[in-house]
C-alpha cells in the first residue's frame, strides 16, 4: 500500500452555533478545515485503503456498532432532533450498511472515499463542501421562516437545523447539500466539516479531519 503523507497538520477552525441550539444541545459543535485537492477518481493508494477497510468490517461489527460510544451518541442525537436513526441512518451506520449490502466499500471518488475512510476509522460525522462557494465561517443554526434552500422549490420548514455559512444554508444537518455548494468535478478547494454531538470527544474531531485530509492528499 502506498504511504500517505504524514507531514500535513490539520488546522481545524471552530464554527459558530446559534445560541438556541447551543443551549438545548450542549456539546454540539462544528469544525472545518479547507484544503486544496483534486477531484475525480481515487488513486490506487486510496482504493487499497478502502479494500483493507472492507476486510476489517464484517457483520459482527455492524451488529455491535450502535453500542459503541460514538455511534451511539449520534443515534441519541438523531432521536433528540426528531430523526429515526433506523430510517435516516447516522453517517457511520449508513456506510456500514452499504459495506454489508455491497460486500465492500465501493470506491466512488477521491473526496467520498476519503470521507468514508475517516468516518469508518473514527466514527465522527463528516461532510464536504466547495470551499470557494462558502462565505465566511461555517456554523449550525435554525432556518428562518420562508428561508430558501438552493435546489429546493419550496422553502425550508421553519426551525430546520442547517449547516450554514454567514450568508445562506449550505446543507440540512445530516441530510441534503444545497445545490452547487457540494464538491463536484473541478472543485479546487474542499471544505471538510466535522459535526460533533455530546458524547464525542474533541480529539476525535481533529483525528477525523486529519485522516480525511491525509487520505485526500494521498
Amino acid at each position: 500500500m502506498a504511504e500517505l503523507p504524514d507531514q500535513w497538520e490539520v488546522a481545524p477552525e471552530p464554527g459558530w452555533i446559534e445560541p438556541a441550539l447551543a443551549e438545548e444541545f450542549p456539546g454540539l459543535s462544528i469544525v472545518s478545515t479547507a484544503l486544496e485537492t483534486t477531484t475525480g477518481r481515487s488513486p490506487e493508494a486510496l482504493k487499497e485503503r478502502l479494500r483493507s477497510l472492507s476486510d476489517r468490517i464484517a457483520g459482527a461489527q455492524a451488529i455491535l456498532l450502535r453500542q459503541q460510544p460514538i455511534p451511539w451518541a449520534y443515534r441519541v442525537f438523531f432521536r433528540h432532533i426528531g430523526l429515526d436513526p433506523d430510517t435516516t441512518r447516522t453517517p457511520i451506520e449508513q456506510l456500514i450498511f452499504e459495506r454489508i449490502h455491497d460486500g465492500r466499500f465501493k470506491s466512488r471518488n477521491r473526496v467520498d472515499d476519503a470521507l468514508t475512510i475517516a468516518m469508518v476509522e473514527v466514527g465522527v460525522a463528516l461532510r464536504a463542501f466547495d470551499a470557494d462557494r462558502a462565505e465566511g465561517r461555517l456554523g449550525l443554526r435554525l432556518s428562518a421562516e420562508g428561508e430558501g434552500f438552493e435546489g429546493r422549490v419550496s422553502p425550508l420548514p421553519e426551525g430546520t437545523i442547517v449547516v450554514a455559512d454567514e450568508k445562506r444554508p449550505l446543507g440540512i444537518l445530516f441530510d441534503k447539500t444545497a445545490e452547487g455548494r457540494g464538491v463536484k468535478r473541478g472543485t479546487r478547494r474542499v471544505l471538510l466539516v466535522a459535526i460533533s454531538v455530546r458524547g464525542v470527544p474533541d480529539i476525535a474531531l481533529e483525528e477525523a479531519l486529519w485522516v480525511a485530509g491525509s487520505a485526500l492528499r494521498a
Binding site: 438545548e24 450542549p26 432532533i81 429515526d84 430510517t87 441530510d175
Partner: protein, 206 residues
C-alpha cells in the same frame, strides 16, 4: 463518554422562571382550578427527557445486539420529522415510543427463549433416543444460534436402517464455505436439497 450523556446536566438559571419571593405557589392548586398559575420553564424537563431517551437508546442497542441472529423483531421507533428542536411533548412521545419498543422487544425475546429452550431439550431427547424422534430436525436457528448446523434423526444405512430400526442423530457440518464462483449449472447440479454443497457431483460421473 456514555456516562456524560446519561448524567443529569446542570442548567443555567432560567430567565422566565418565577422568583421565589415574587410568586408563591401552593403545593396543589385549589380543586376545580385548571388554569396555569405561571409559565413553566420546560428546559429542565426537555434535558431530563433527552437523558431518558439516551438511556433507552442504549438499552435498545443492547437488546439489538443480543437479539442476533433472531429475525422478525421490530426495533423501529418512529421519528418526529426533523432535524429540528423538539418540544417537551414531542420528546415525551419519542421517550414513550422507545419505552414501548423496549418492552415489545423484551417480550419477543422472552417468547423466543421459551421456544429455544424447548428445542434444546428436544435435541437432548433426540440424541438420547433417536428412534422416538424419527425424521425430526432441529437447526441452529431454532435454538437462537448463528450458523447452519442442524441435528437430524435419520436411519443408519437408509432403507435398511429404517426397516431394522437403526436410528441415529446426524449433526451437519455447518455452512458451506464460500469458494469462488459456482460451476456452470449445465454440468453440475445439486444431489439433494441440503444446504451443504458437498452433494454436488458432475453428471458425467454418475
Amino acid at each position: 463518554m456514555m456516562e456524560e450523556l446519561l448524567e443529569r446536566a446542570d442548567l443555567p438559571e432560567s430567565p422566565i422562571a418565577p422568583e421565589v419571593e415574587e410568586s408563591w405557589v401552593p403545593p396543589a392548586p385549589p380543586a376545580g382550578l385548571d388554569t396555569a398559575l405561571y409559565q413553566h420553564d420546560e428546559r429542565e424537563a426537555r434535558a431530563d427527557l433527552r437523558r431518558q431517551i439516551a438511556a433507552m437508546e442504549l438499552a435498545l442497542a443492547r437488546l439489538f445486539g443480543s437479539a442476533f441472529p433472531r429475525k422478525g423483531i421490530d426495533f423501529a421507533v418512529a421519528g418526529m420529522g426533523g432535524p429540528r428542536l423538539l418540544s417537551a411533548d414531542e420528546l415525551e412521545r419519542v421517550r414513550d415510543g422507545l419505552a414501548t419498543r423496549i418492552q415489545d422487544v423484551k417480550a419477543d425475546l422472552h417468547d423466543y427463549a421459551v421456544v429455544e429452550e424447548a428445542n434444546r431439550e428436544l435435541i437432548e431427547e433426540m440424541v438420547a433416543d433417536p428412534a422416538s424422534h424419527r425424521w425430526e430436525r432441529v437447526c441452529n436457528e431454532d435454538i437462537g444460534e448463528p450458523g447452519c448446523k442442524h441435528w437430524h434423526a435419520k436411519p443408519r444405512w437408509g432403507v435398511l436402517g429404517m426397516l431394522l430400526g437403526w436410528w441415529q442423530v446426524k449433526i451437519s457440518s455447518g455452512c458451506p464455505l464460500a469458494k469462488g464462483l459456482r460451476p456452470p449449472e449445465s454440468r453440475w447440479r445439486r444431489r439433494d436439497s441440503a444446504a451443504s454443497g458437498a452433494g454436488a457431483r458432475p453428471l458425467a460421473n454418475r
